[in-house]
């Protein structure tokens, strides 16, 4: 039951617009947390703060008990925290395999010279690892296809695969199921996320609009509205509250 990541009093404003106001969030290791709220509530901003792409005006961000405020995003990935993007941000001109292989961390056998001059395709460990991930996400058959030729659903799977490739322990997924059909969500994404937590010891935090999914999967839920945490707790408990139901859970 240890807290692997938390924010303390995070405050962020853009010009006159306050995006995050006194946000205190504790994310438990080995669990799936959900972050929900209406559009513009600040969910993606919070993710940006957690992953280092935005520095808060006030407050602290702790990862494994270490203050990571102001750290470079890529360093935070090395520490074990990675995120996916709502807009996917895939490397469109590269193939699926290349997208994933590129995201793998540097291996111990890779010195600088090897990285610059050695053909990555010949690096068996890398190719094998990347292929495994593609298989896990069920997109191995499209490995050699340039990403921009994939369907939206396939691209979303590649985004998840790329996230996994970073080998980070804590994964922040920004709307991983939006725009996907029920079948893919239920048969591919949901089981995958559960397996990552149960079998591979990952910690996951989702930004989601599908309340059904959130209630299905999350051990803990944070409700964010207008930059503030309105409530947080176990899904079943939150459901009892009428006010929360009105603001957040309309879709049930």
């Amino acid at each position: 039951m240890s807290v692997i990541m938390e924010t303390q009093g995070v405050y962020k404003a853009f010009g006159g617009l306050m995006a995050l106001n006194q946000v205190d969030v504790k994310i438990e290791e080995g669990k799936i947390s959900g972050l929900i709220g209406p559009n513009g509530a600040g969910k993606t901003t919070l993710f940006n703060v957690l992953s280092g792409f935005i520095t808060p005006d006030r407050g602290r961000v702790l990862f494994k008990n270490r203050d990571i405020c102001g750290e470079d995003p890529y360093k935070i990935v090395h520490l074990g925290l990675a995120r996916s993007w709502q807009g996917l941000r895939l490397f469109e001109h590269l193939t699926v395999l290349e997208n994933v292989a590129m995201s793998l961390p540097r291996g111990k056998e890779e010195g600088a010279l090897k990285i610059i001059l050695g053909s990555w395709v010949k690096n068996r460990r890398k190719v094998q690892r990347a292929t495994e991930i593609l298989e896990l996400v069920q997109i191995k058959s499209r490995a050699q296809v340039p990403v921009k030729e994939l369907s939206y659903a396939e691209q979303k799977l590649v985004a998840i695969a790329r996230l996994l490739a970073t080998e980070a322990e804590v994964l922040l997924l920004d709307e991983p199921t939006s725009g996907l059909d029920e079948k893919t969500v239920n048969l591919v994404i949901a089981p995958l996320l559960k397996e990552l937590v149960a079998q591979r010891g990952k910690t996951i935090c989702l930004v989601e609009h599908s309340i059904k999914l959130v209630f299905n999967m999350c051990d803990w839920v944070f409700c964010l509205n207008e930059g503030q945490i309105a409530a947080s707790g176990r899904p079943q408990e939150l459901r009892q509250d009428e006010e929360l139901n009105r603001v957040f859970f309309q879709t049930i």
Binding site: G15, N48, F53, I54
Partner: protein
């Protein structure tokens, strides 16, 4: 002290000319938010057209000037409609726009070189009128430069704040996506604003032709000055560009005075280099010019 006054006056006049360039480019850049440098080619052609009209066809300078301004507007319209609009349609990348506009600039200067050769030609036939103010003597061109600069400054500030075109241009500059949604014909507004920008720039082409003379490479030089004016004075600020141009004019004049001839050109580039390295948004620039994440 004796030297200070002529220095100030000269700096003022050069500064005024550069301010004109800065304002013209600011108009283009602030609305398009991209580095469309095709105005450089228009500058060259207008300068040379001015020469043709005055020295060849014998027209009076004011009349020739007005015709040249019209030419600038017309050329800009052609370039925008015929090429730049299609480039903008095709690609969001600011690099492509810059390259395409640079190509237009190169083509226009190349054509000018082929037809005119490389010599400098002035539109001035006979001696310049000289105005005397106490101890200062200014040639008429130098006298008119600040007047023109100021008029352009006031006129366009007014236009931005009062006229529908100006307000729409501001809207498009600040938020192109929203403008499109709201129904503003962004492309048309961009084209018109750019044409006006080129018109302003052509004013300086006319002045240069009468003052020091024109040759095919001046277009490129005007682009450099305009760039520096906008970057120094502040990205996104019309007033800033005018002030930036003024400042550069002064720097240039002082450089001419203090430094050996060969190093003058370099000073400006070093200034540009340092500004971009240390304060790319310029003195009056707006911070959220381009959003990142």
């Amino acid at each position: 002290m004796d030297l200070l006054l002529p220095l100030l006056v000269d700096g003022m006049c050069t500064g005024a000319r550069y301010a004109i360039l800065g304002m013209g480019f600011a108009l283009i850049f602030n609305t398009q938010r991209m580095f469309d440098i095709s105005f450089g080619g228009i500058y060259t052609w207008c300068g040379l057209a001015m020469w043709i009209l005055v020295a060849y066809a014998g027209l009076g300078i004011p009349l020739a000037g007005v015709l040249v301004l019209g030419l600038a507007f017309f050329l800009s319209y052609l370039i925008q409609k015929g090429y730049m609009a299609r480039m903008r349609n095709r690609s969001d990348s600011s690099v492509s726009i810059m390259l395409g506009s640079m190509a237009i600039l190169m083509a226009m200067e190349a054509i000018a070189t082929i037809i005119w050769g490389g010599e400098i030609r002035t539109a001035r036939t006979g001696d310049a009128d000289v105005f005397k103010f106490g101890p200062i003597q200014i040639s008429d061109v130098k006298f008119y430069s600040p007047i023109f600069a100021l008029s352009i400054f006031l006129a366009f500030r007014y236009l931005f704040q009062r006229t529908p075109l100006g307000l729409n241009a501001k809207a498009v500059a600040t938020n192109p996506l929203l403008s499109r949604i709201v129904g503003l014909e962004t492309e048309r507004i961009l084209t018109l604003t750019t044409c006006f920008g080129c018109l302003i720039i052509a004013v300086d082409a006319v002045l240069v032709c009468v003052d020091t003379g024109v040759h095919p490479a001046i277009g490129f030089q005007s682009v450099l000055i305009a760039f520096m004016a906008v970057i120094l004075g502040g990205i996104g600020s019309f007033e800033g560009a005018a002030l930036g141009g003024l400042a550069i004019g002064f720097i240039r004049t002082v450089a001419v005075f203090q430094f050996p001839t060969l190093w003058q050109e370099m000073i400006l580039f070093v200034v540009l280099f340092l500004i971009i390295a240390f304060r790319p948004i310029g003195i009056f620039g707006m911070k959220d010019w381009k959003k990142e994440v």
